[in-house]
Amino acid sequence: MPSRWPRRAALTALALIPLVFLAVFFVLPVGGMVLRGLHPDGSWALGDTWSVLSRPPERQALWFTLWIAVLGTALTTALGVPVAYVLYRLRLPGRRVLRGIVVTPFVLPTVVVGVAFRTLLVQSGPLGFLNIDASWVAILLALVFFNLAVVVRTVGAVWEGLDPRAEESAAALGASPWQVFRTVTLPALRPSIISAASVVFLFCATAFGVVLILGGTRYSTIETQIYLLTTNLLDLRSAAVLSIVQLLAVVVLLWGAEIARSRKQRTTVTAGRGGLRAVRFSDAIPLALTGLVVLFVVAPLATLVVRSLQIDGVWTLDNYRHLASDGADNALLVPVWQALDNSWRIAIDATAMAVVLGVIVSVLVTRRGSTRHTRGLLTALDGAFMLPLGISAVTVGFGFLITLNHPPLDLRSSPILIPIAQALVALPLVVRTLAPALRSTDERQRQAAAALGASPLRAMVTVDLPVVWRPLLAATGFALAVSLGEFGATSFLAQPDHPTLPVVIYALIGHPGAVNFGMALAGSVVLAGMTALVMGLVERLHVTSMGAF
């Protein structure tokens, strides 16, 4: 059919834009980084790979990453599922506010969470008596704090849409509430739980900022070890080996999550049959857990805000006033407000890129392939754009520095590099928010529009736009919040005289002095406030696919 060709060519051209972006700004830097490690001085040095992995520090990092991620995933899932039940299944007064509170941490900048947990757990802090500051427990708690939102949103969205009549049938057939949950509800939720748990595992295993801040020198994950090896020890070969290990683990995990997710989309979800039900006495345990979780989420943030308003126990705004300075002992090269300004400019550029690319990728991956071949290609494409989610931001950041440093791509000192890196981080989240909405529109609606004389573009405006504008706006806000808080890649790429707010906060905690720490607290509150504000606005759009995997 000759008439199909122009359209196919247009789609291919469209696909090329994000693919080229991914190739230049992801495959090239990561590949360069890996090559630099394994192929130094023009010859392969694979033989040393195993020796790197068997060295005590690397072995320790691998081991620690594995068990902290397993523990973090288990705890997050165990807490997240009952909370999802309470917040998405029960007619609980104030559930919207509670949902907002529980999912806030996901978009909080890692440095803010690190600082907040330290404030909570230090000897002089409210939970100082627990004596878990700078221990693995602190890291574990911070990981759970971060990732609860993933489980609550992912499982909650599915739970909310489950047809209650399946459960009612089971109850009428003599199944007790627990048996109903075990035999009917859980099997229906299982794909979403697996999907959420694998994403949480991914985030736990690749966490950078919190581990760096809370782990001190005692605990190191693969990610912080890569950072240490590249920046402090300049041992690129070992860093590359670790990056490859991480890359392989991530690919396997994403593949597993993809299988679980496609199975989730196959289970029929009949939306909105008034699934909420009244709170019963038997809900006491999940309700109590939810209360605990809300407290757990609020406590570090509340402590952070309170401490930022105090100096030596006296209430004052001085910490905020100091933000106009460059810190005690010239800890910084620019005042914090300057960094804040940088953060916004960079985040807006990054958001624009992530959204444009995200729309293109979403439109492409939600096409229904006509042949098995095309369908496979689309799934692969979908997976490829999820990769940046799991690759060490440090690898990407460092890869940028070593591969984009010569013509024609000499971008090393270009200010565009940071927004590109941040867009890469935000892109998968944009796609994950938009694609379900695009997928939800019935192809027959478009066909009906076409049959009524609408051009393909016109049909999209008529059919897709009304469904997509909310998720699009939500994805934009999401990308903005993520870019504002991005730390891993930015910390590599930011010029000392042109830092972003998270980079400045990290620099401040690294410098001694109460004034600097006070400024870090105030800066964290400002940063958290901005992301929370953006996410609060986004939350009002009620887009369930956002932050769900």
């Binding site: 009428a172 003599g174 029929t268």
Partner: protein
């Protein structure tokens, strides 16, 4: 009394009454159909009886014991939905075995029981099929087998056949009736389809705007609709009063009231017919030719002719009244 008694049940949603002061009786071993248009509150009533909805007022009791406060899974009632609600992750055998597993029936006894039930509903040998591979009618049969496996004191059916096409629905309604009778199951079904109600049930309760407006043995309700709207809902297409009713009354003999309801097949073209009409339009349908006829003193009514008759607008025809397709209505205002 043995069986189900619903007394004075009322349910409101945010102040809007959905079910008002409903009182029903269903003797053990019988089948009751609650018949009403969509939105009349019949499904809410079913949910109250099942224990899925707590009523604001009134009680539900079974075999003389009040069950209003007893949770669904302890009532010993089974529930079957419009679309079956088979558990998609279990095969047919596991679906049917579900209530048996809940009752901790010995594993060795489960398989023969499942086979027996599948034979009963006409699906022998389907044990290992997945629900997704079944047709809509087959899914409903499995759902029925699963519900019967629970050996419920009362089987509740929510529009059990509405999702199926016409021919399948007629056949399955007959099968359903047979299965319920031969297993001696006490059952309550809600439906908006009067044919389904009449085929499957011993008793019919007509529900409207949250209230039961009429209940009794199926034949009684069928022949004596309580008012015009009930008559229309039971499938009577024309309601005559005044001169029209006067014209027909002599043909029906004693007992005909002031107002007479006609089913679509109440008038047939017949050379010996007592009424004269003029054909306004004619359309061929499955069981004959459907006519709109202008009849003197009555007005425009629907009539049927045998297939093969040639009729055109303007033709004059003689029409015979079929008494069995009429019903007398009590006094009340006419008009639509």
């Amino acid at each position: 009394m043995d069986g189900l008694v619903v007394a004075g049940v009322g349910v409101s949603f945010d102040g809007d009454p959905a079910v008002q002061d409903v009182t029903l009786e269903l003797p053990a071993g019988q089948v009751l159909a609650v018949l009403g248009p969509s939105g009349c509150g019949k499904s809410t009533l079913l949910r109250v009886i099942a224990g899925l909805q707590v009523p604001d007022r009134g009680t539900v009791s079974f075999d003389g014991a009040d069950v209003t406060g007893i949770p669904t899974h302890k009532r010993g009632f089974a529930l079957m939905f419009q679309d079956g609600q088979l558990f998609a992750h279990l095969d047919v055998a596991a679906n049917v075995a579900y209530p048996l597993r809940r009752k901790r029936v010995a594993r060795a006894k489960i398989a023969p029981r499942v086979t027996e039930l599948l034979n009963l509903v006409g699906l022998p040998g389907m044990e290992e099929r997945g629900p997704a591979s079944l047709s809509g009618g087959q899914q409903q049969r499995v759902a029925l087998a699963r519900a019967l496996a629970a050996e419920p004191r009362l089987l509740l059916l929510d529009e059990p056949l509405s999702a199926l096409d016409r021919a399948l629905r007629d056949r399955l309604a007959t099968d359903l009736r047979e299965i319920l009778v031969c297993t001696g199951t006490t059952a309550l079904l809600v439906t908006h389809d009067h044919d389904e109600a009449l085929t499957a049930a011993d008793r019919i309760a007509v529900m409207r705007d949250g209230r039961i407006v009429q209940q009794g043995p199926a034949a009684d309700v069928w022949q004596h609709p309580v008012d015009e709207r009930a008559a229309q809902f039971l499938g009577f297409s024309t309601i005559l009063d005044g001169s029209g009713a006067d014209r027909l009354r002599p043909l029906l003999g004693a007992g005909a009231g002031r107002r007479i309801a006609l089913r679509p097949g109440a008038l047939r073209v017949d050379p010996r017919g007592e009424l004269i009409g003029t054909v306004r339009s004619a359309a061929t349908v499955a069981d004959g030719i459907r006519l709109r006829c202008e009849v003197e003193a009555i007005g425009e009514v629907q009539a049927y002719a045998e297939t093969g008759t040639t009729l055109a607008p303007g033709d004059r025809v003689q029409l015979r009244l079929v008494p069995a397709a009429t019903a007398a209505l009590p006094e009340g205002p006419a008009g639509r």
